[in-house]
Each structure stands twice: as C-alpha cells, then as structure tokens.
Symmetry: C2
Subunit: 180 residues, 2 copies
C-alpha cells in the first residue's frame, strides 16, 4: 500500500464515522482531516468536495459486490468470512456504519436508503421461495449483528478469534435463511 | 399508565439516546428534558441526579431478566419474541443502545462493560457444551442485529410484521447456538 492509498483509507474511515454520527451540515472537511491525521487539501485531491466524499461513504455497492460474490449454496459461510476478514484486515466494518445513522433526519436518511437499495434489496433478489423480503432483512440482521458485537467488544472472541471457527458456528443460521 | 409513569419512560428513552451518543460530560439534564418534553426538575424527582440517571440507563439487568426468563429448550423463540414485542409496545429497543456507545472513551466504555457482564456473560452461563463464550457472543449478535435492522428501516418487515412470523424464521438459527 502506498502512502497515498493509506491516506485515502484513513480519510474514508474518518468520514464514515463523521457522516454516520452527525448531521450533514455539521460535518467539516477540517474535522475529518484532523481525525484522519492528514490535511484538508488531501481530501479535496481524493474526493473533490464534501459532496463527493459523502457519495463515497454512502455507497455500499463495493461491499455488496464482495459479500455476494459466490453462489447461494455457499453464500452463508462466504458472508461471515468476508465480514470478519475485512474487519481484521481493515480495522473497520463493511456495513455497520449504517446503524449509527439510524433514527436521524437529513442526509443520514439517504445513507439508510442507499443501504436498503444496495444491500438488503440485492440480497432479496438473490433469494427464491417464500418470504424473500423478510428473509433478506434477517440475513442483513445477522451481518449487522456480527459487526455490532465486534464494535461493542473489540477484545471479544467475535472480534479476535479465527474467522473459520466463527463461520462454523454462525454461518449455518444464515444459510438456512438463504436456502428458504 | 399514569402521567408520572409515562414521563419516566420518556426521560429514559431520551437519556438512553443521549448517553449512548455523547460523552458523559456533554450530556445535560436540560437537553434530556427538552428531548423528553418534560421539565429538568421532573428528572431530578425520578432519578435524583445525572449520575442516578446514567446508572439506570447503563443497567441491562431488567432486559436480561426478561430475555432469559424461560428454559433453554424454548429460549431461541422467546428471545426473538421478547425483543420484537418490546420494540412494538415501547417504541424502543432493549439492547441496541449499546451499539451507539461503541468505540468511544469515558463512561460509554462503562456502558459497554455493563452490557458484557449483564447480558453476554449471563447468556454464556446459561450454555453447556463447547465454545460457550463464542456462542454467547453470537447469540447476542443475533439480538443486536435484529435491533439494528429495526432501527435502520423502521418501515421494514422486521420492524412491522407479526412477531410470530418473524420468530419462525429467525429463532431456529438462535436455538442452534443455544443447544450447542
């Protein structure tokens, strides 16, 4: 990873936190730059503007692509492993930032809408059989719950133990919802 | 419900949100009173002080008592139904406020510690067999995930549909982790 790449990652981590926890108008590039330990001009270089940065933060397409990259027959295990490995490698979560944007007005509502369209609805379209809408929400619940537990107890087993061992315990409940 | 009781509930809902999202020092009784639509003196009457109010917010004993009130053989279904019914009746979640306190310093760390001791550890002590610590975290993940999905999409099926129908889909994955 080059210095420029790691700067981009630090900006995104700081921006995800800021946009999820504060109203859009209250977020400043200066605060994000301070949190990321870089200069505000580097944010402008990478993302153009606050709008550009928000658009990137509110985009779950890449996360959904990675999570849904395998056939349904092996999807439960892949979902769990992808989430856990991303957390361990990047120190952040693919999805859970949407929870911090819950219950608020303004652009945070847009973040939740994008999540529903780009994650929950895409999961739903992968499902066959009955109750696809509910099953999709419950699959997403499994993933947000895993992200939440790792965020709440960063020294806990879910956050630190071997992903394969966790997937063995957690993926079967997910796979049942996928199979329908 | 008397007027005094409903005032207490409104205070608690506002306080849970405030203590989970802001540093302890930044939380004021005046702001909580404004959010709850009551007077600050009514908070003092019910809870004594900011410390007293925080102690009540950071106490998950009642939630754990309600969630764990049945034998393990039927616990999965009971966990899901209790969480869903509380949400529908009270308009708030038994557990998910802990997620909003994630990643912060100060008294919010105490809220997370209490949660671990009063919820996750109590679940763990109910389990027999192998990997009880990990299974307890994953059971809690299921519950936090359900709370998260209802918070993120308040018009979604998880937040609005018949609890029995949801339990039928969601409880089996939980019960597997309980049975071990």
């Amino acid at each position: 990873m080059t210095g420029a790449d790691s700067g981009r990652g630090a900006i995104l981590r700081a921006a995800r936190k800021a946009f999820a926890r504060q109203p859009y108008a209250a977020v400043t590039l200066r605060d994000i730059a301070a949190e990321a330990g870089i200069s505000a001009s580097l944010i402008v270089k990478h993302f153009g503007s606050k709008e550009g940065l928000f658009d990137t933060v509110a985009d779950f397409t890449g996360a959904a692509d990675a999570l849904l990259a395998v056939p349904n027959a092996v999807l439960g295990r892949h979902l769990v492993l992808t989430l856990l490995r991303y957390r361990r490698e990047q120190g952040s979560d693919l999805l859970v930032r949407v929870v911090f944007a819950a219950g608020s007005g303004d652009e945070r509502a847009l973040l939740r809408e994008r999540f529903r369209d780009q994650v929950t609805r895409r999961v739903e379209h992968r499902l066959a059989g009955a109750d696809t809408g509910l099953r999709a929400e419950l699959i997403v619940a499994h993933l947000l719950g895993l992200g939440a537990v790792m965020a709440v107890d960063q020294d806990g087993l879910a956050a630190t133990a071997d992903p394969e061992w966790i997937a063995e315990r957690y993926a079967p409940g997910l796979q049942v919802l996928i199979d329908g």
